[in-house]
């Protein structure tokens, strides 16, 4: 796992230099000086996780189809992110491609037919589980994670907290495949977070954001921890619900513009509902403070996810 973390950091460091020369960059619009920052840093997470999983499968003969299916789902979703970063895929195409990326996971979970929910209990989905539940879970989680983003350390921080909790719960519930997949992703995101934390030296891009959403859902499905995954996604779900209120839920930035930076460094929200805009509206907020508070929120949902799971098992 340490190899994954070190590889992720080293690759992100390499990409932060090379991508500037290649023109794979974006403007950090939440700073007064608006620096140019390399994009698509999530590629380091993707490559580091892939390297770690190859080493793990070579050393540990017990890893079978389920682990491979989890890795393939997350990796293919990462590749969709790469394509999105380079060619700006349409929302519909992205959704279809990510659903297709979960095909091997659907196949490997064909005998899993039910999901436990609080109050409701065990819901017998039967054949709908591999056909509908798995692809919908992966694509919804990935796209929601992609929307709560855009600030230094936010995506990688949420990824570290949520994947960390899923890894812990997988280990506690005895799901080795889920725990190992989670540990690989966790260390990869921690290595990346060192360079992505405020002030960021590299951005994750859609590669980094889509992948951890798919990762949370994949671990949840592999380890039968669907409800924990749902609870961990609640801040992103709230952000998604708020954005649905506006006329163009997937195109607000084109319609309303971006968040602005005031001369004192505090952020002025764009004119559409969103979770980060709520924090900016209720009190003067600088970027780092905003990220810390959203991570506190994610941490509290992580505690709820652990509590709900431990009460259930």
């Amino acid at each position: 796992m340490g190899v994954t973390g070190v590889a992720s950091y080293d690759l992100a460091s390499l990409f932060s230099r090379k991508f500037v020369a290649l023109g794979i960059t974006g403007v950090d619009i939440h700073k007064l000086e608006r620096p140019i920052i390399p994009e698509m840093g999530g590629l380091s997470v993707l490559l580091a996780m892939s390297l770690g999983s190859i080493i793990l499968m070579a050393l540990d003969g017990d890893r079978g189809l389920l682990f491979l299916a989890g890795v393939s789902t997350v990796s293919l979703t990462g590749l969709v992110g790469v394509a999105d970063d380079r060619f700006e895929l349409r929302q519909r195409d992205k959704t279809i491609l990510i659903a297709a990326a979960s095909a091997l996971l659907s196949l490997s979970l064909v005998n899993t037919g039910s999901v436990w929910f609080p109050v409701i209990g065990l819901v017998p989905f039967g054949i709908l589980f591999p056909l509908l539940v798995v692809p919908i879970a992966i694509t919804t989680s990935a796209n929601m994670s992609n929307m709560l983003a855009g600030f230094n350390g936010l995506e990688a921080g949420i990824a570290a907290i949520s994947v960390g909790v899923m890894t812990f719960l997988s280990a506690v519930t005895g799901s080795t495949d889920g725990a190992l997949l989670g540990a690989l992703l966790l260390f990869a995101y921690l290595g990346f977070l060192v360079l992505n934390w405020y002030p960021a030296k590299i951005f994750p891009g859609d590669t980094g954001t889509l992948m951890f959403g798919a990762g949370i859902a994949a671990i949840g499905l592999i380890s039968n921890l669907e409800i924990a995954a749902i609870v961990l996604l609640m801040p992103a779900a709230l952000d998604f619900a708020l954005k649905l209120m506006s006329k163009k839920p997937f195109g607000q930035r084109k319609t309303y513009g971006n968040t602005k930076v005031n001369p004192d460094g505090t952020l002025a929200p764009a004119g559409y509902p969103a979770l980060v805009h709520a924090f900016m509206r209720v009190a003067p907020t600088k970027e780092r403070t905003l990220v810390v508070w959203v991570l506190i929120m994610e941490g509290l949902y992580a505690i709820l996810a652990v509590a709900v799971t431990l009460v259930h098992i």
């Binding site: 409701i120 819901v123 989905f125 709230l238 619900a241 708020l242 509902p273 509206r281 209720v282 009190a283």
Partner: protein, 77 residues
């Protein structure tokens, strides 16, 4: 309200939205008792999503606009 209290109240509000959605789901789940388990669960889950969306709009965002000192900012369109 201090900045930290305002931000903490937002987080608390998000849990209120989740709690209310959970309560609505519980009521619907009991109301649909005559149905088979799968349609009963599916309808309850759909109600959860609908209640959460409504809660985000009617509880969370309304409260944000009320707490917000920046009343000149554009509101929900």
């Amino acid at each position: 309200m201090s900045p930290s209290a305002a931000r903490a109240s937002l987080i608390a509000l998000s849990f209120v939205v989740l709690l209310v959605s959970g309560l609505v789901t519980t009521v619907v789940w009991r109301f649909l008792a005559p149905l088979d388990p799968l349609p009963r669960a599916m309808l309850s889950l759909v109600m959860f999503v609908a209640a959460y969306y409504a809660g985000a709009n009617l509880i969370f965002w309304k409260a944000v606009l009320r707490i917000s000192p920046s009343s000149s900012l554009p509101q929900t369109n």
